[in-house]
């Protein structure tokens, strides 16, 4: 003992040479199972998304009949504030736009205006069958049929009308999507603004909305 032979790796008491990876066959699994440290950007994004998801401000615009269920949802029985969802009085103070049902062309114009005034990040939750494919107003001359041609919809909640529980489920989905960083409708809207504008101009005949410079 005493002097170690050169070139010979000493053995640990278990018989494994020092410096070699223990249990070489299992080592890959073990190493990859550990949480990887996030880069700075990723950490910031994670925290940002987490905070965003926990404080949603719903714009006070009852665009259709689904807004009747926002009353029970906001008050004591279903109480959306326990999820961190609360009302925002104006577009500039809110982050979620609820399209509560059918949209007549006249309202669509106001909704677009309101949506474009909202600060980023902003999300759209669409309620009811009538926002998905027209619903029972499929042959109406006044309502639009497919909402996502005009606005980027993040979550659809179907039903006519959706119950408050369904709305809560929709909000939970939206919050999960925000946490995962998947609720990116507003980025899509900016990137494809020309396509959206073309669709909007097709149905809104007297177009006089301001052009924003974002």
């Amino acid at each position: 003992m005493g002097v170690e032979e050169k070139g010979k790796v000493p053995l640990l008491p278990s018989g494994v040479p020092v410096g070699s990876k223990p249990h070489a066959t299992d080592s890959t699994l073990f190493a990859q199972g550990r949480p990887k440290p996030l880069s700075l950007d990723e950490s910031v994004a994670f925290i940002k998304n987490w905070f965003r998801a926990q404080s949603l401000n719903v714009m006070a615009y009852g665009t259709g009949c689904g807004s009747i269920e926002l009353g029970p949802l906001g008050t004591s029985r279903f109480d959306m504030e326990r999820f961190g969802i609360t009302g925002g009085p104006t577009p500039r103070q809110s982050s979620v736009l609820i399209i509560s049902g059918y949209l007549s062309v006249k309202t669509l114009k106001r909704v677009i205006r309101s949506y474009e005034q909202m600060p980023n990040p902003r999300w759209v939750v669409a309620l009811g069958s009538c926002t998905i494919n027209g619903g029972m107003y499929w042959d109406s001359y006044s309502t639009i049929k497919i909402l996502d041609q005009y606005l980027p919809v993040d979550v659809y909640v179907n039903g006519c009308m959706p119950r408050p529980e369904a709305l809560i489920a929709g909000f939970k989905d939206l919050m999960d999507m925000i946490k995962r960083g998947e609720a990116n409708g507003y980025i899509e809207y900016q990137n494809n603004l020309d396509w959206y504008r073309a669709n909007q101009r097709k149905v809104i005949k007297d177009w006089n909305l301001p052009e924003y410079s974002w």
């Binding site: 062309v105 042959d139 109406s140 001359y141 309502t143 049929k145 097709k202 149905v203």
Partner: protein, 180 residues
């Protein structure tokens, strides 16, 4: 009610009358007599409330029907006055000076049927629609389904509105067992 119709008959020509219910009488008058009759009813009888005012499109007769419903709340009876006007050049006399709510009824009827009421304060101002370019939508010859399909389009997948087609999709072309 019949005595009251005779009282009207003594002043204006009543084309037809129909007691629909004990509390609802329907009469038809000529267009020239409409405004004098309504003015007389408003000022001299208990029928001074205009409950509702609308139009019906009788496209096969080439006429619009204007319907005024007046109610006497003291006697608890209503009188429906029906007036036929020409569909090709639809113009009627405005009654906004008798009833203030007629302003919006007339505004709506101009927008929805294209019936003009000269002198009505908001004639031609959009009430329900905005930037409408087609024929007035409540006319019978306006096809709303075709308009919706052309203007808005449907999401792909919603092509089968006939239940028989859905059966064909679910069960193949043969349909149900008893179908072939």
């Amino acid at each position: 009610m019949n005595e009251f119709v005779q009282e009207i008959q003594a002043r204006f020509e009543v084309l037809w009358s129909n007691p629909q219910r004990p509390d609802l009488m329907q009469i038809g008058v000529r267009q020239v007599n409409a405004l004098p009759l309504l003015t007389w009813l408003k000022s001299n009888t208990g029928y001074f409330i205009l409950n509702h005012f609308s139009a019906v499109d009788w496209i096969e007769d080439g006429e619009f029907q204007l319907t005024y419903l007046l109610t006497d709340y003291a006697a608890r009876r209503s009188l429906m006055v029906c007036v036929r006007i020409d569909r090709a050049a639809p113009t009627a006399e405005s009654v906004h000076h008798l009833w203030p709510e007629a302003v919006t009824y007339e505004q709506e009827m101009f927008e929805m049927f294209g019936i003009s009421f000269p002198g009505s304060p908001r004639q031609g101002v959009d009430l329900l629609l905005e930037g409408w370019e087609d024929i007035p939508p409540m006319r019978r010859d306006f096809d709303t389904a075709a308009f919706a399909e052309e203007a808005f389009g449907f999401r792909p997948g919603r092509t089968h509105t006939n239940p028989r087609d859905r059966v064909a999709i679910a069960f193949g072309q043969k349909g149900f067992l008893h179908d072939h």
